[in-house]
């Protein structure tokens, strides 16, 4: 029986099946833990305690969550246009260069009130620019965006190492990093923001970027589902032929979708460079761009889902770090493995359970009622 053509009610498609997929991924992760002699239930307990146990833990969890929201949204908006942007990592990296160049040049000239907007703008522009080239190549030269964005990640990495070692490094400094920016350009961290209102919380890297992340969610939702551009984006993503027939230009959709995607990925630099490090450092993206793919797949490319998936990954990252203290056998790489399993089960094997669900559903409801309309 070909079950792909049988429609299922929305709650099964967007809630039950995705949750079952994640459960399968988590069961597989549990089996790996059992295999290396760790009790998965105990690990989950430590992880949740480590991620939510104190305001310190929550701060770190939300700080990671912020990065994942940005990269998850970046992957999602491209997905809606049927584009697979694997280049979030490189786009975020180059966005960090943008922020850095802007601040290195302007942090003693511009009035402080302008510095932060300029930094955010620079991140968006540089991220978008690094996505624009693969987008243009796909739209006008026919090279596939998946391959070019993979290549661009490596090119970005080589470029940044070159610039950090040969150009941006302070004279006399050993480590490949730029000078620290003036404090006026630093994005306020949440413990400072809370202090303005007289509330004292523990200092963590969590900063105002999380507000930008939530605003980005609203932006993506409005853009994709409530504007003409979003309609064009989704139409071109579903069927290029239909889009052309409706007077939509698929080439410009490719370019605009990828540029927005690159800009969103670039906001990782706002969180990391403007909010935490205050200088350009080597490899500050730390794989967040790739995690964005898992986040987007898990969140079904919808901002609400992405926030939830980002939170889950925030818990995994922060809780995983705590876990490492308690059970040294479990390192950060366990989280990487879990991430791989989630991409496998929620992404590549997303349709694995569907035939079973359809059969179960047909047992409950007669076939004629499902297929006829």
């Amino acid at each position: 029986m070909n079950t792909a053509a049988i429609p299922l009610p929305a709650w099964l498609e967007v809630i039950v099946i995705p949750i079952l997929n994640i459960i399968m991924a988590l069961i597989a992760s549990g089996l790996i833990m059992l295999a290396i002699g760790v009790n998965p239930l105990e690990a989950v307990g430590i992880m949740i305690e480590g991620a939510f146990g104190s305001d310190y833990a929550i701060g770190y969890t939300l700080y990671y969550t912020t990065n994942f929201i940005f990269t998850g949204l970046a992957v999602a908006i491209a997905f809606h246009a049927s584009l697979f942007n694997i280049g979030g990592e490189g786009q975020a990296y180059i966005a960090g260069l943008g922020v850095g160049l802007a601040f290195l040049a302007l942090d003693s000239i511009l009035p402080p009130i302008l510095l932060i907007p300029v930094g955010i703008l620079a991140a968006a522009l540089f991220g978008a620019a690094w996505a624009f080239i693969p987008a243009w190549l796909q739209a006008y030269r026919g090279s596939h965006v998946v391959i070019t964005t993979i290549m661009f990640n490596f090119i970005a990495s080589a470029l940044m190492v070159y610039l950090l070692v040969n150009v941006l490094r302070e004279t006399g400094q050993m480590s490949p990093e730029s000078r620290e920016f003036a404090p006026e350009s630093w994005l306020p961290q949440m413990h400072q923001v809370f202090a303005w209102f007289g509330i004292k919380i523990t200092r963590t890297p969590l900063n105002l970027s999380i507000v930008l992340a939530l605003l980005s969610c609203v932006f993506v939702w409005v853009y994709v589902w409530r504007t003409r551009w979003g309609f064009e984006l989704r139409t071109a993503g579903q069927s290029e032929a239909a889009a052309v027939y409706a007077g939509i230009k698929p080439k410009s959709v490719v370019i605009s979708a990828m540029c927005i995607s690159g800009a969103l990925a670039g906001f990782v630099a706002v969180n990391e460079i403007m909010g935490v490090h205050h200088k350009i450092i080597n490899n500050f993206t730390a794989g967040y761009g790739f995690t964005g793919i898992a986040v987007s797949l898990m969140g079904r490319n919808h901002p609400v889902g992405i926030v939830m998936a980002s939170l889950l990954f925030g818990v995994l990252y922060q809780g995983g770090a705590e876990l490492n203290f308690e059970i040294p056998k479990i390192t950060r790489e366990m989280v990487v493995a879990i991430q791989g399993l989630i991409i496998l089960f929620s992404g590549a094997l997303a349709l694995m359970l569907r035939p079973w669900i359809v059969r179960l559903y047909l047992k409950v409801r007669p076939v004629s009622a499902v297929v006829d309309h």
Partner: protein, 326 residues
């Protein structure tokens, strides 16, 4: 600046062959997968996972042949996972490949720490558990007798381990299978037009699964080479992007075995000279940016894909799951 003599050139070529070997094996692996219509960005993950498997088994058994078997077995299993997702369940091929890459990157370290307690590294291997360099017959005598060519034979052709020669032999085998056998014809057909294969009464799934299994086998040899022939242990992230370079080389060779091999050799050559050019100063310009040379394979591939130097056209049905009409 000392002179750059024949000896130096031979040393670079010798290094080129050593670093090209895993690229060549992976590129051939990629050709089998992609020619049958399945995108394979998971070469990187297969390389890493099989390197780990081989090094682990070598550490336990001190037997290179068992290690090779383990590497190949893990390669085939990963390829079949890819097939299960992409062929049986019509999943997104890029997503599946990425999942394998990330899974390999995490799992090799998790298992490595659990098994060997050395921060994700496997124990150092002695020569009895590795594939060691082989001196080809008559190398010394030939080098004595014929100065230029003989030296080339001794320095560049001879003195590699068995898997290096296997890699070059695999290029010939790949070419022969793809272009000269019925199976190869069918693989090419299923990558261009699976419906035609289906109409002819052949199983699209079976052909694609077989191609993927060969892909996993070749990637397994590459991983084994990495950890127990070229190096003497597994180190975390030791594949270091070579799977992606092989992917680039395969595209550069336009999905054909022999041109792909030359692309691998070119990328390997760039890698070999990059190390030597560290600190090398071009008069009037300054130091050669080593990072530029390292990024060159990626840049060249982008330029090629953009159609500025020739045109790379992928198999027509690549990336599209086959749905059998009923």
């Amino acid at each position: 600046m000392g002179g750059f003599g024949l000896v130096d050139l031979f040393a670079v070529l010798d290094a080129t062959i050593r670093v090209s070997t895993p690229l060549i094996l992976c590129a051939m692996a990629g050709i089998f997968s992609e020619r049958s219509g399945i995108i394979d960005i998971s070469l990187e993950g297969k390389l890493l996972a099989t390197a780990f498997a081989a090094a682990s088994v070598a550490a336990w058994t001190a037997n290179p042949w068992l290690s090779l078997f383990a590497g190949v077995a893990v390669g085939i299993v990963l390829a079949l996972v890819h097939g299960f997702a992409c062929i049986t369940h019509r999943g997104n091929q890029v997503v599946s490949g990425l999942a394998i890459n990330i899974l390999a990157s995490g799992l090799t370290v998790v298992l490595g720490i659990s098994w060997f307690q050395a921060g994700g590294q496997t124990p150092s291997l002695g020569s009895e558990s590795r594939f060691m360099p082989i001196e080809l017959p008559g190398a010394d005598a030939f080098a004595e007798a014929v100065p230029g060519l003989g030296q080339f034979y001794k320095d560049v052709v001879s003195g590699h381990n068995l898997l290096v020669y296997v890699a070059f032999f695999c290029v010939f085998i790949t070419w022969w299978v793809i272009y000269r056998t019925r199976f190869g014809l069918r693989v090419r057909a299923v990558g261009e037009n699976p419906l035609a294969i289906d109409t002819a009464g052949l199983s699209v799934s079976r052909l694609r699964y077989s191609s993927l299994a060969i892909c996993g086998l070749l990637a397994g040899i590459a991983g084994t080479y990495l950890s127990i022939a070229q190096n003497a242990s597994f180190v975390r992230e030791m594949s270091a992007g070579q799977g992606y370079i092989a992917l680039a080389a395969m595209i550069f060779g336009k999905w054909r075995p022999v041109p792909a091999m030359f692309a691998c050799l070119m990328f390997g050559f760039l890698d070999a000279i990059a190390i030597r050019l560290q600190g090398f100063v071009i008069p009037g310009y300054g130091e050669v940016p080593v990072q530029l040379i390292q990024a060159l394979p990626y840049i060249l591939t982008v330029v090629l894909l953009a159609g500025f130097i020739g045109k790379a056209i992928a198999p027509k049905a690549i990336g599209v799951p086959f749905v059998k009409e009923r």
